[in-house]
């Protein structure tokens, strides 16, 4: 063997090995190389303006405004007159040092936010003097502006994208703005538009050295789309005003379209509270208040026993299932005895003792006995309460009760409509209509949200159908075409069965429980409700003031508005909920409150239930609704 062989051999081996390794790196591993998302390319975003939001009449609800952040790049900071600088920024020296240290700790050669969202007047003053302070500069940011201080629960708010979301969703970078609640989150993709991207070469000191591929893959920003809501902001603001000092929810819907005219939760807050420098302080106030829960949308989330308005549901089912007719009558003896034991008796306030009561009167006077009989007949129709209740539930579900409605807002609650199985497992098959008799009058297990009840009312107003409630009318001035909102949903009740019920509801505002709240010239159809509720303190049940409830629509023919009002602990339906409803209907249909009815407004504004709510504060509590 030649002596030179070894070196030839080794050189060849090494050469092949190296080329093989290069193949592995450049061809196999190189296939996964991402030419854009790496350290050498910097992506700079060009943010489009977020879409504006208008109400149904074109009133501007949400706009944008400029805000000014003081930025710092610590390695460029020269010695400065801290005292004067602190005065300009309205901070103290300790705060200055803390912020400076934080920025320096983050990165000395990178800019970071020194002071967020300067007040406009401070900015004007600072701008003149800023040249003296090297390493500090101003960065503009776009934030939301709310010209009208209402509907914060509908509009929602925007906030910064956090790390978790930024990792999950590849559109967002940490710290960018995103809708966090209400319409802002539901229509985020329309409102935000599309940010423009510019790709730049950068070196390892993060210094930009030129554009990537001469900008050929850069994109321009696309502006956000404006939204027109279905909301009538005047009605909304008026309703919020009427609810001051009270807790509860109001939902108003246009029955012919399903458009939400007002969606009120009380207490509420000024949407501007979640903008600007006071934001973090305010959000503690709003989100940490677990007692009055201003950030909790009662109109969508709170589940209440519907109370007497639910009697209409039972009437409709009774008529549809032909267990009663318009002329069926029951006698009431100040209540209904559904069992033999002394406590198995449901009281009634209809005040018609021992005389036959027909449907119209029963609704107008809210007779518990009449509907207990009707409910029993529905449920025990075939001597099989479980099946009977399933049929009962089927009808109710067709009104959108007992499940999420499918509207375009991010919060919701299904409420509860029990079916046969529900009681089968609870009572081990030994139950009947009497056992669950509270359902007859909208108490017991039944739970609904204000928006569900408003939708139920709209379906009655339409005599048998509804459109799924929705909050957005137009996107970029084009009416929405989401079939979920534009195709009518039929209930399982025939049209003719609505007439007696509507006649009766009309009677409520003529001669019944709502007669003190009638409005001249508008035929209101409605039903009051009074739901008992209890709190449990250390295991002891304590009865609270009743919830005041009312559902109504108007006018009787060609209804323009359907509304549900819940006022927590407001007492009888007729005392608070009815006048509020009447005021809102008058306001919406006539545009103003007539002089004759002005006293109602004055009264309602005066009423504050704070004293009652305060009673509930000191004890850790658990709210629950009970049976009448």
């Amino acid at each position: 063997m030649k002596r030179s062989f070894l070196l030839y051999f080794l050189i060849t081996i090494i050469g092949v090995l190296f080329i093989g390794r290069l193949f592995q790196l450049q061809i196999i591993k190189g296939a996964n190389y991402d030419p854009i998302h790496n350290a050498a390319v910097k992506t700079v975003y060009d943010y489009p303006e977020r879409g504006y939001i208008y109400d149904r009449n074109g009133k501007l609800l949400v706009a944008n405004q400029l805000s000014y952040d003081v930025m710092i790049q610590p390695n460029q900071v020269k010695p400065l007159d801290t005292l004067e600088f602190c005065k300009l920024l309205k901070i103290d020296k300790a705060d200055f040092l803390k912020r400076y240290k934080k920025a320096k700790h983050y990165a000395s050669y990178l800019p970071s936010v020194f002071l967020k969202q300067l007040a406009k007047e401070d900015f004007a003053y600072l701008q003149e003097k800023l040249h003296k302070y090297k390493g500090f500069y101003i960065q503009k940011r776009i934030i939301r502006d709310y010209p009208i201080k209402a509907a914060s629960n509908v509009l929602g708010y925007i906030g910064e994208v956090n790390e978790v979301l930024a990792k999950k969703n590849n559109y967002y970078e940490q710290g960018e703005l995103i809708g966090k609640d209400g319409v802002e989150v539901e229509y985020e993709e329309y409102l935000r538009g599309r940010k423009g991207k510019k790709y730049l070469h950068r070196n390892r000191f993060n210094k930009v050295t030129g554009s990537y591929r001469n900008g050929e893959i850069d994109t321009l920003p696309v502006n956000g789309k404006d939204l027109t809501l279905t909301l009538d902001i005047d009605l909304q603001a008026y309703a919020q005003k009427l609810m001051s000092g009270k807790r509860g929810g109001i939902v108003a819907i246009e029955p012919s379209t399903g458009e939400i005219l007002a969606l009120v939760t009380a207490p509420s807050y000024d949407p501007n509270m979640l903008v600007g420098r006071m934001r973090s302080k305010n959000s503690v106030l709003l989100f940490r208040d677990s007692i009055s829960k201003p950030a909790y949308d009662r109109g969508l989330l709170a589940t209440y026993a519907p109370g007497s308005p639910f009697k209409m549901m039972n009437a409709l089912i009774g008529l549809q299932e032909k267990v009663i007719t318009e002329h069926t009558s029951f006698k009431c003896y100040n209540g209904f005895r559904y069992g033999n034991r002394p406590n198995e008796f449901m009281g009634c306030h209809c005040g018609i003792y021992g005389k036959p009561i027909q449907l119209k009167t029963a609704i107008a006077k809210s007779c518990n006995t009449y509907f207990s009989n009707t409910y029993k007949r529905i449920v025990e129709h075939n001597n099989n309460p479980s099946e009977g209740l399933d049929i009962w539930k089927k009808h109710i579900s067709s009104f959108g009760l007992g499940n999420y409605l499918g509207y375009d807002l991010p919060a919701g609650s299904p409420g509860l409509i029990p079916d046969g199985k529900y009681y089968d497992s609870r009572y081990k098959y030994t139950w009947n209509g009497s056992t669950t008799i509270s359902n007859a009058i909208g108490q017991g297990e039944v739970l609904t949200t204000p928006i569900q009840l408003a939708n139920f009312t709209a379906a009655i107003a339409n005599r048998g159908y509804f459109y799924t409630p929705h909050i957005v009318k137009k996107i970029d001035n084009t009416p929405i075409n989401n079939p979920n909102f534009t195709i009518k949903k039929q209930t399982t009740i025939d049209k003719e069965n609505f007439n007696p019920v509507i006649e009766a509801m009309s009677e409520v505002f003529k001669t019944g429980t709502g007669k003190w709240s009638q409005v001249k010239g508008i035929e209101i159809c409605g039903k009051t409700g009074t739901a008992e509720n209890f709190i449990r303190v250390n295991g002891i049940k304590e009865q609270l003031e009743d919830h005041s409830i009312l559902v109504a629509f108007a006018p009787k023919d060609n209804p323009k508005i359907a509304i549900a009002v819940f006022v927590e602990n407001g007492g009888f339906g007729s005392t608070i909920a009815a006048p509020i409803t009447s005021l809102l209907i008058e306001k919406y249909i006539n545009g103003k409150i007539s002089k004759a009815n002005k006293y109602r407004e004055t009264n309602m504004l005066k009423i504050s239930l704070q004293a009652i709510y305060d009673k509930q504060i000191p004890k850790p509590q658990e709210l629950e609704t009970g049976t009448k």
Binding site: L6, G15, R21, L22, F23, I27, G30, H201, R204, F205
Partner: protein, 426 residues
Amino acid sequence: MRQEQNNIFAGIDWILVFLFFFLVGFGWLNIYAASKTDTSTELISFSTKYGKQLIFICLTIPLIIIILFFNSKFYERYASVFYVLAIFSLLLLFPFGKEINGAKSWFNFGVLGLQPSEFVKAFTALAVAKLLSDRQYNLGLIKNQIKAFFIIFLPAILITLQPDAGSALIYLSFFFVLNREGLTLNYILFGSAFIVLFILTIFFGTNWMLFSMFSIISIFVFYAIYKGGKRFLRFNWHKIIGIYLIVGLFIIGTGYTYNNIFKQHHRDRFEVLLGLKVDNKNIGYNSYQSELTISSGGWFGKGFLKGDITQGDFVPEQHTDYIFSTVGEEWGFIGSSFVIILFMLMLFRIIYLAETHANKFGRIYGYGLASILFFHLIVNIGMVIGLLPTVGIPLPFFSYGGSSLWGFTILLFIFIRLDAHKNYDW
């Protein structure tokens, strides 16, 4: 043909000259890409790395002419003088050297720094050639082997003391030369075996290695006893014990050296390479960036001056030791494989020419040259493509630096000079 002796270019191997200029030129393009700045546009200038390198490259031409000007005999005759001067220059570093990056490896002459260790390689090669080509010399004798080792390791030790262990490592390449001239291959085999053992010990830990090596050797011993019977044991028992002892002690010694004598930064390099530690930010940053940079090149590279990782200066020392990563990024798999093939061609050509020398001196020197270049390639490219730990030695002809460029120029052109005269009777 005699009169052509007056022409200094007569008989020189133009293939090697061409390869030299091609590699140097291509190297400079990559240095330009790796060190380009926005502020200066002058090509020849002392203010930029690529400007300085271009000056260094221009200066190789007078250097080459001077080298070619002398007669082959001159190099043979004065080999020992060169060697002594070289050693002397290394010694002078201790009092007069300038400390850069913790090593006293440089003489400082104003704008210019010289690194003697880059030149000593050439003169050591001359000295080794001189020693081994002596007619009286027989490598079979231990005494002569020690003489050769002394010549080779004296500069290596001095360089280690600077301390610049990476540059000293190169002197191991002379084993190829000695092997060519008759030294038994056992040195290389044993050396390689111990390197493997060393790496395995670091990787698996002392205890595990002691156990497994004991088992492996025992299996061989039992097999040998089974085959050879009692006779085998009677005649070889001392060898068997010796093997056990040497291997065992080596493993224990490795563990001790690694944990107690190595510095943390040495250990980190090994551990990152062997995948015992994942660290893309600090210790492993160079290797990680370098691999990433090369990977990003793909088949054809991003194009000259279009490698964004190179242009963003993300790879430290990219114009010097990591220059090959620039090739990888901007010229892709095709470009970087081409460079490796060019180097292989150069090495083959040198060995081929060396083998044609009738004169032993020229052949041995040629082997020295090939071995040194080869070793540089293995260590440098191996490091840049993430196969070997970080050892800071330059890529011949490519890396930025006057000393290294001139050192390799001298090394190569002395051989070209010797080769040009091989057919003449001298």
